[in-house]
């Protein structure tokens, strides 16, 4: 019959379908590979949770702070530590670090965050009450981050055994279970 496709025509169609399928498969694999390997915007948290101690010195409350673009774990830990030391806005009553206390550096060693604070932290007038409130909030903030379970405090780059007022022991890393 004239209308019938010759074997040659059938081969051509089959080949065409195969090529289209292969191209489609390649495109699909490409898309999947791209989605798999491209940095996911959802993989990094948009916010960090920051804790502060209320004026009873025991109860913690929290607020969330959105992150900038620097979302590598160490930058996030640094940012969270700075926020915890800054404390909530001034209209919120909180146990606060002594004025002028700054976070000089944050490093991560395993599951421990090493937070280096300026010497102002030892200038506070508080005793055990203030020290517990300050450091509990900092430890809870940092251990809220994935992979951090304890916090070692150094002051002006040096390890310290204790603080001068209430004698909170800082020689070993602090964790949530300290309080």
């Amino acid at each position: 019959m004239d209308g019938d496709l010759s074997p040659k025509g059938e081969d051509f169609l089959v080949r065409l379908v195969r090529i289209v399928l292969i191209i489609g498969l390649v495109v699909l694999l490409g898309v999947l590979a791209y989605r798999g390997f491209a940095p996911s915007t959802r993989s990094a948290a948009d916010t960090v949770t920051v804790y502060y101690s209320k004026l009873d010195g025991v109860t913690l409350d929290k607020w969330t702070v959105s992150l900038g673009p620097a979302r590598d774990p160490r930058s996030v830990a640094f940012y969270a530590a700075v926020q915890a030391v800054a404390g909530p806005p001034s209209t919120v009553e909180a146990v606060r670090f002594p004025p002028g206390t700054i976070v000089r550096k944050v490093e991560r060693r395993g599951t421990t965050a090493i937070v280096d604070l300026s010497g102002n932290v030892t200038s506070g007038v508080g005793g055990a009450f203030a020290e517990a409130g300050e450091f509990k909030a900092l430890v809870w903030t940092l251990t809220k981050l994935p992979g951090i379970s304890s916090v070692r405090i150094t002051i002006n780059g040096a390890r310290v055994a204790t603080l001068p007022g209430g004698h909170l022991e800082l020689d070993e890393p602090l964790s949530r279970s300290n309080w």
């Binding site: 607020w63 806005p89 001034s90 005793g127 304890s150 020689d171 279970s177």
Partner: protein, 701 residues
Amino acid sequence: MNHFLARIGSAFFGLAFCWLTCLSPVSASPPTPGLWFLGSSLLTPTAQMRGGQLFVATSDGGLARLLQQTGATLSYDPSQRYIVVTSADHRTITFTLGRPQVKIGAAQSAVAVPPFLDRGVAYLPLFTLAEALYLEAVRADGAETVLQPQIGAMVVRTQGSSTLVTLHAAIPLTFRRLSGAGNEGVSLAFDNVSSQLDATRVIGSGPLHEVDLYVAGNPHRPTTTVNFDPHAGAVHALALENDSPNEVTLEFASRGMPLHGEPVPAQLASRSAGVPPPLAAQVTIPSPNLAMPEPSTPENIPSTRVTTVPIAVATPIPSGLPVDGLPEPTDLASSPSASGDIPTPAALAEVSAVNVVPDDGGLHVDVALDGPVDFRWHRLLDNRWYVDLIGAHLTISPRDQDVNSPDVSAVRVHQLSTDPHPIVRITLALNAPREVDVRAAKSGLSIVVGAETDAMSLRFGDGRVEDGRIVATTADTTEFAVPGAPSTDYATARKSSSHLIVIDPGHGGSDPGAQHNGLTEKDLTLDISRRIRALLEDRGWTVMMTRDSDIDVVTPQALAAARADGRPNPDDRAELQSRDDIANARGARFFLDIHINSFGMSNLRGTAVYYYKPIDHAFADALHRRLVAQLGIPDLGVRRDKLYVLNHSTMPAALVEVAFLSNPQDADLLRSPDFRQRVAVAIADGVGDFAAAPAGVLNTL
């Protein structure tokens, strides 16, 4: 392939462009002349112009002085991209290297040229930072630019029947009262600060009708007058809540309603940062609600800055963004705290099932949790073992279940404490001393009862279970004993026939401790300790004090040894360890540390007792019960804290913070010999209670 190559080429070109625009060194230009701040020329030796913007290095001495005078701090770790400045009113101003944005509190806005690195030094846009710190760059005569301190935000909020108005400024606020003392309204003149807030702010409802601002003077010496116009019959006071000297808060209430502050003085002199106003009076601890951040409502959003004085080098922050956004309304409003239904942070998980599952080798107890939880476990001498799930709520009924097992006779599950510190306790009554392990399980955690172990070893440990794994475990197999100290354990302590009690009067010698209200902590602790000693000796105890005069306790030999051992902070460590050593070396039955508390805000008062080790807890409880009952001052409870002397003593130890030296009312009490004697009697009674109590008092599960 061509496309791929094109993409690689584009990426390379983009990187090269970024390097050229952002990271390449910029030839330093001389500092901009005529930058004036607070009465003197502001020298910024590292200043650079880039893209019409003035940049200064984070290490610049002029920038450091500016930050110091505004009460701000700068945190920058060169290995990271964030540069964070914290203002005196606790807003964080965040720059990111290479990123043309600045984040002030919760608000983000653009900057024309991003912060950059030059030869490893980070540079910030000075005028963007200045504006965020409420410093306005204004042109004076000639080429001079003045960084003029501003009253940059006015926050109005309602608290009960009162209206509170807080002014936030770039520098510590001082004022002169222009109106008469008895006037319903009040006018205050703030020298050396200007303002570009709205001239009139109508408050409307509540006791305050409106607030008007007027600016006079010249760019170098401005004065802002603020006129508070209340409704008829309203009363006002200077609120005592500000912990930053850069803020002043006035409280207004309708006649007959209570005010919490003090009459507005004729003038308010300068205050140092972090110290409460000199007019601070005794007030009660605010209720938790008062501490809550206010939600972002029209009443508490500060007025928008309407204009800025445009100058060539200033980076304008786009209008409409809440640059005055105190107190970070977006961030806080998004927090559950602001909505009032806050789970306390401790409330992390719910315990929805506890199943006792026999297995081949013995038995395990599966605990279903819906979130991460910290746990702390203890094994007692009577073969009871328990784990506290800290911050957990029990959503099933408590139970006390007999178990037909050769290893365990009963399992008890109950809510040990509720909010704000919820703890679920699971107790196993073991038939024999056995190892018990806490492991992560798919549904939460699993308590696995294993092989027999040493009967007399008291063990404790802690950790955290999260996402099906134990992410932190400390001391999980540690014998309860302090390394380097005489070995003892709970049994020794409990069965001790020692009649020796060591009392440590906190601080002393070169360390005065806290000093407030004309009193010094080391003197008070010594006096109270001597009184306790007299009472205890009358009751048949042998008492040793770590010091009986105003001296450092550490001996020169111990100090030298500590300095030679290479461990950090030897002086403090040696001083504190010496106090523990006195008790440890003599096998004292109890160690009692006496301290006086203090705090930056004078309104806090009360007594607290601290413990750390498990064997301290009941001792601290016994002291606390007597102190609260016999002193009648606010009760701050029994608190766990890793204080050095508690951690390094080997017997039941407690640290008593008798009262707050920083609180005028507590200070008056501490001044009284009668009160100090009552403190001593309460503590001696507590010691007696604990010593006489049967073991059940210690292990009330």
